[in-house]
C-alpha cells in the first residue's frame, strides 16, 4: 500500500539545532561569538589582527580559523599576536558548519576569553546557509572585488549585522561605485552597519572597533 507521509521539516534543522547548542555553550562561558564571512583574500585575517591589536588591552579574544586545506597560516598569525587560535581544516568543504565549530569550541579555552572570532572559509555563497551559533555575522567586502557583489551574491548579505568594506586605500585606483554598492546593501539589508576601512592604513578601523565594543557590551551584561 502506498501513502503520503507529511514531514514539514526544515532541511537545515540538524545544523540549526547544533548551532543552538554552540550558542548555549558560548553563553554559559559569557563569550560573544562573531562569524566573519568574505571571499578569499578580502582581508578577514588582516581585519582580525587589527581587531586584536585594538582590543588586546581590554579583552581576551580567541580565533577559530576555517580553511579548506590543511594549513595553519592564518592561525599562526593569531598565535603570534598573542591570542589562542584553533584551526579547522574543512577537508575541502566550502564553509564551516555547526558540527565543525562545535569541535573547535572543545579545543578553545572559553573561560579565558570574552570574544570568539570565527574566520569562515573564503567564499561568498555557502557559509550563508550554515548557521554556527555565533551571536552575529559580519561580511568583509573589499574594493578590488568590485561594486556589484551585493547583486551577484545577495544571500550572504542578508543575515549580517555589519558590513566592512576593506582596502579603501585602493579606491583611487579602481573603478568602484560606492553609491551603487551601498544601494545593493540597502535593498538586501538596510539595518546593517557599514564600515569602510583599510587594514593597510588603519583608516576607519576605530569606528569599527567602537561598534564592536558596543555590540559586545550589549551581549554581555556586566
Amino acid at each position: 500500500m502506498s501513502k503520503i507521509v507529511p514531514v514539514v521539516q526544515e532541511i537545515m534543522s540538524a545544523n540549526d539545532s547544533l548551532a543552538a547548542q554552540n550558542r548555549a555553550k558560548l553563553d554559559a562561558a559569557q563569550v560573544v561569538g562573531m562569524n566573519i564571512m568574505a571571499s578569499p583574500g578580502a582581508g578577514k585575517t588582516s581585519t582580525i589582527l587589527r581587531t586584536i591589536e585594538a582590543l588586546a588591552a581590554d579583552y581576551r579574544l580567541g580565533v577559530v580559523e576555517g580553511d579548506t586545506a590543511n594549513v595553519t597560516i592564518d592561525a599562526d598569525k593569531v598565535l603570534a599576536a598573542g591570542m589562542p587560535a584553533v584551526q579547522i581544516n574543512t577537508g575541502g568543504n566550502c564553509h564551516l558548519d555547526a558540527v565543525m565549530l562545535s569541535g573547535a569550541l572543545a579545543q578553545m579555552p572559553l573561560d579565558e576569553i570574552e570574544l570568539l572570532i570565527v574566520e569562515n572559509v573564503g567564499n561568498l555563497i555557502c557559509p550563508a546557509s550554515f548557521t554556527l551559533g555565533t551571536h552575529f555575522n559580519v561580511v568583509i567586502a573589499s574594493v578590488p572585488e568590485g561594486d556589484d557583489k551585493p547583486y551577484k551574491y545577495p544571500n550572504i548579505y542578508r543575515g549580517i549585522d555589519a558590513l566592512i568594506l576593506n582596502k579603501m586605500d585602493l579606491l583611487p585606483y579602481i573603478d568602484f561605485d560606492l553609491a551603487y554598492f551601498r544601494q545593493g546593501i540597502e535593498i538586501l539589508n538596510p539595518e546593517a552597519a557599514f564600515f569602510p576601512i583599510s587594514c593597510k592604513t588603519g583608516e576607519g578601523v576605530a569606528e569599527w572597533i567602537e561598534w564592536l565594543k558596543v555590540r559586545m557590551a550589549s551581549l554581555r551584561p556586566a
Partner: protein
C-alpha cells in the same frame, strides 16, 4: 558547493520519517525550495542518486516546488515578486524591504510503500 551535506540531511530526514511510518520503501520526496535559498536542484539530484542507493529511499523521485521571492516595501506597503535582478520598490523607489517569501527550504512530505 555544499549540496552534498544538504542532500545527506534530506536523506536522514526522509529515512527517519519512513521508519516511523514502518515503510518498506520511499517512492517520492516533495521539497519546497525558495528562490533565495541558493539551492541547485541538479546537484541535489546528482548526489541523491549516489547516496540514496542502499537506503529505504533508493530510486525515490525528488520533486522540487519552487517558491518565488516576494518582497514587501516597508515604506508604502506594496508587495511584489522579485525578478532575476535585485530591485527597489517599483511603486515608491524605497530600498527598505522585507522578504516575505522565498527563503523556504524544507521537506514537505514523502510518498512511501508500506
Amino acid at each position: 558547493m555544499h549540496e552534498l551535506p544538504i542532500t545527506e540531511n534530506i536523506l536522514d530526514i526522509a529515512v527517519t520519517y519512513a521508519q516511523q511510518a514502518s515503510a518498506k520503501r520511499v517512492t517520492a520526496l516533495h521539497l519546497v525550495v525558495g528562490q533565495l535559498s541558493s539551492i541547485v536542484d541538479d546537484s541535489i539530484q546528482f548526489y541523491w542518486d549516489i547516496i540514496s542507493k542502499d537506503t529505504l529511499c533508493a530510486g525515490a523521485t525528488l520533486h522540487f516546488e519552487r517558491i518565488p521571492a516576494r518582497l514587501e516595501c516597508q515604506e508604502c506597503g506594496h508587495t511584489y515578486t522579485l525578478s532575476r535582478e535585485l530591485m527597489v520598490c517599483p511603486q515608491c523607489g524605497s530600498a527598505r524591504l522585507k522578504v516575505i517569501a522565498g527563503e523556504e527550504f524544507r521537506l514537505e512530505s514523502i510518498e512511501v510503500e508500506t
